[in-house]
Subunit: 457 residues, 2 copies
């Protein structure tokens, strides 16, 4: 049977997957040998290895190393197609998914649906903070932050006003989860080592890095022992840690922190990073409007033991979008959820009984965070360890999970460069990034006077 | 003597360099051991290895590999400082340079001035073309083009309209100089090899790549023999070459070409690249307003035999901004000009007589262009050669001129990946780039209807 070019028809079981993160990509790959038609709809063209995003933001890795195109990864999987578009609505009754690309809305029917649309940054109702304290959820975020961090040093170098200079050299990371700890550590290393001696009017090692956490410990889910280890290591690197501290306001020039003891303090800072909370994709709320699905405060879907939603045994929600007791919002949860859903689809197409599904079981492989060069903390079962050994484990595990052999090699080299020397290979920022805040600054802070360079600098 | 922090004073001879390209960076480095104060003012934070920009645009290299931060390169050169800012005016009478950063204007005095501000793209009076046919002069340009090229394939994959799909799969490169030839070749390789099989509704190998040139040959400055070689190689790769063809209009959906025989044709194309002409920095015109300096039609300064301007033996103009008979607008011209100016400054500070300067002599090391994987054309003196040997020479030369040992290693690996396999490591585009034209497309081309995916795709 021949088809006109560009038209494919199929009577196969149609699996639609939403999202190209760990959950969605794993599900698609697991369906490789199944007699199904897979459509993976995602709003980015790449699969993002989110745990290393902070290394793109701080100049160690290039975006290409952690974000290969999804359609290249799935190129040889002939039963899968990758579709660019942002999913705006799921119609559970008619079994269709609407996605939008460049003003066109496309409707895609499904027989089985795996929703793995992830989570974005949550500002706990203060979305206006986002402009001044970007999150760390996408390649766009990481490159924006790279531009802001390096741009702040550049502006400080040219400023003759000591107050402005101090503001520019104060970096605040909000939230001391893994991403916050890693960002704070990397900004400190950037300032203390990579940029050391590169400026003439400022001393980059004098930059302040402040890590703010609402709970009473660093890395709260990893427990007091590892949290304490990470905290001591960060403090040794000069990171100032403020615990029991809630951010109540963020603006262009700084932020306001309220402490548990009732006191309030303003910190002047040009560059803020938000890693304090997550909000699941709004598609969870879309499901809740049409079914008995419940969502929690973070917008996560309270799934059934088989990761489906009530009344729709053909609709799975996996990864950061799903709330499952005991499953953390990490890569492993998404990977195992995606694999579980794909395996059920395969088994039931082969005749397994959908009414007797074995519930999803999460295998906790542990969690880890790289605090600095050569130092990490790790938790595997009841085993907790930190330091160099944990860092080697971190290195090894992240490397094997990276997609593609050549990417592993090039990433290993990028790491060798940054771990063995202060050098980093990806400190480039675009002109747009270097001058990103030009218009805002001009609007709010134009100083018409001409400064004499010899005096000013 | 101690200075307040952030203030340096000096009675040393003050050399100001404008631009961090090949000319400016070479001049700064050559002054390493001179008893001078060097200020290098540049509008980007990086030194750009412009000959490899097309590889960033087509996904082979990351921006970090070809654009290391200038201040990291010059970190250990204690007599040099790098200053971020865009130079807006040179005051020859008072010997000062004005530069702007974030609304502040800074005035920097000089004793000697080396102007190496380079050239931008020229649209020959049609600057409105720039929006639809970006040039290839900066990292911003390269990343923008990467987004447009890969985004066009993505949009074509989702389009059900054959006319629109054809427009999206037609890539036009205007100007068949080295950059145009390299871009056309790389887009063809991207479509024919890297992206082959990655789409399901389009065949990327069916993409058209059209190279348009106003002269009667490809690579006009390299002569008919090498131009013919390059042309045949490109045609073998499927690139359509149109010679004696002038682009008279460019818009969102295509461009209009007028041929020497008087006929006119419109080509429908979503993605256009402009590499047809250069216009020197407007600082040349700024000099002409204040002195007897003359500029040519491209805005280049007609320098004296010692590369200075009339009446100002302490002001050098080097690189793409200068017009010197027999010196092409290439890296070598800028490198040799920057070195010459720095050497004169050093010699005259040691007592050499400024009135008997030996004129600048350009040593033509030859020129080359990489047409495709494993194929280049090269000209060294009277020797002209093409093919694999020329490509090896191209590889070797570009590698040794890259700044930094580690960059060379990582670039060599990136090249190994792309030359030995169809894979490319830097195909990532940001969401902003993937949807860059969303708003424009929405404004001009909203299709309100919902397409049924099964029909549409």
């Amino acid at each position: 049977m021949s088809h006109p070019p560009g038209i494919t028809t199929s009577d196969k079981h149609r699996v639609v997957i939403i999202g190209s993160g760990f959950g969605g990509l794993t599900a698609a790959r697991k369906l490789k040998r199944a007699n199904v038609d897979v459509k993976l709809i995602a709003k980015t063209t790449h699969h993002l290895f989110q745990p290393l995003l902070y290394q793109v933001a701080t100049g160690i890795l290039s975006e290409g190393e952690i974000a290969p195109p999804t359609r290249i990864i799935l190129r040889k999987q002939r039963n899968a197609q990758v579709v660019l578009g942002e999913v705006t609505h799921i119609d559970l009754a008619n079994r269709t998914v609407d996605s939008v690309l460049l003003g066109h809305t496309y409707r895609t029917p499904y027989d089985s649906l795996i929703i793995a649309a992830g989570a974005g940054q949550s500002y706990f109702g203060n979305d206006q903070f986002a402009e001044w304290a970007p999150g760390m959820k996408s390649i766009d975020d990481a490159l924006e932050l790279r531009g802001r961090i390096l741009g702040a040093f550049e502006q400080a170098e040219r400023s003759s006003d000591p107050v402005r200079r101090e503001k520019l050299l104060t970096f605040v990371v909000v939230g001391a989860g893994a991403t916050g700890v890693e960002m704070a550590g990397q900004i400190a290393e950037l300032a203390d080592h990579t940029l050391k001696g590169a400026f003439r009017h400022i001393d980059s090692t004098q930059a302040r890095v402040i890590l703010i956490e609402g709970a009473d410990a660093v890395l709260p889910p990893m427990g007091p022992k590892l949290g304490g280890k990470a905290q001591r290591r960060l403090e040794k690197m000069g990171v100032e840690i403020q615990l029991n501290a809630m951010v109540t306001d963020v603006d262009r020039n700084g932020l306001v922190v309220k402490y548990k003891d009732g006191t309030t303090k303003r910190i002047e800072s040009a560059t803020k990073v938000w890693s304090a909370g997550v909000a699941a994709s709004p598609l969870g709320a879309d499901l809740a409007r049409q079914s008995d699905t419940e969502i929690d405060r973070a917008g996560r879907v309270k799934v059934l033991p088989d990761l489906t939603i009530p009344g729709h045994s053909n609709v799975w929600v996996v990864g950061d979008m799903a709330f499952v007791e005991g499953v953390p919002g990490q890569a492993q949860g998404a990977i195992q959820g995606g694999r579980y859903a794909a395996n059920l689809i395969k088994a039931e197409l082969r005749g397994a009984d959908p009414s007797v599904r074995a519930p999803f079981k999460y295998w906790n492989k542990g969690s880890m965070a790289a605090v600095s060069k050569h130092s990490a903390v790790a938790q595997v079962g009841k085993l907790e360890f930190g330091g160099y050994l944990a860092w080697l484990a971190w290195l090894f595990l992240h490397l094997i999970y990276l997609v593609g052999f050549q990417t592993k090699i090039i990433t290993l080299l990028s790491w060798a460069r940054s771990f063995l020397s202060p050098g980093r290979g990806q400190l480039t920022i675009t002109e747009q990034q270097a001058y990103a805040r030009t218009r805002i600054e001009q609007l709010e802070e134009v100083v018409a006077s001409t400064e004499d360079d010899e005096k000013a600098s």
